[in-house]
Subunit: 120 residues, 2 copies
């Protein structure tokens, strides 16, 4: 079974974290053909943190997790912190395969998405 874990930075503002949770809810019905479990997790400052999010995937029966960084640029968090956290988790839980998807900032739909926001 495959799970999808959207990973955002996390914020001291509860509303920012809730935006990520709401987006995950919106995504779930679209994703369910591919992913039996869809959830979000945070690098810091909000719950669940990434290891807890991965643990919940395991508990939901996932053998594989696609982790998608909800970040706009490939800073240290995307390039180093997330891969390090994932590597530590999969060393402890080798039964789970975790694939890190390209981060949001690389999506080819972004230019047209921005244009739609600008003209509406």
């Amino acid at each position: 079974m495959r799970a999808l874990l959207i990973v955002a930075h996390g914020s001291r503002r509860a509303t920012s974290n809730d935006e990520v949770r709401a987006l995950t809810e919106q995504l779930r019905p679209q994703a369910e053909a591919e992913f039996a479990h869809v959830a979000c997790a945070f690098l810091e400052l909000a719950d669940p943190l990434i290891p807890d999010g991965l643990k919940q995937c395991l508990q939901a029966g996932a053998e594989e997790v696609v982790l998608l960084p909800y970040f706009l640029s490939a800073g240290r968090h995307v390039a180093e912190d997330i891969p390090n956290i994932v590597a530590e988790f999969t060393t402890a839980h080798p039964e789970l395969k975790v694939q890190i998807a390209p981060y949001l900032g690389t999506a080819p739909q972004l230019p047209s998405t921005l244009l739609q926001l600008a003209i509406n």
Copy 2:
């Protein structure tokens, strides 16, 4: 004449700022039917800063600028800093009309964009 100004936070990492500039270049051909001038600017840490970006819109002949916050959540930067900078600029340059578009995090295409990244 209308201009489009994509406003990102700005980073100490030059590559992150270059990602925003590259995205702006990708956007330009798609946007040119609506916007004669398409550029990016930064809240801090990178050039041009927002007032300089707005000045360049004026110099390009813009009467109206749509400023699009390239941010995922409505934190202080989106809610306060950007509007304050815009208000200060338009007080000094009342000939320019600046409309702040919804920030990227509100785009209805985001769930499907994330899903595409996850399954590819």
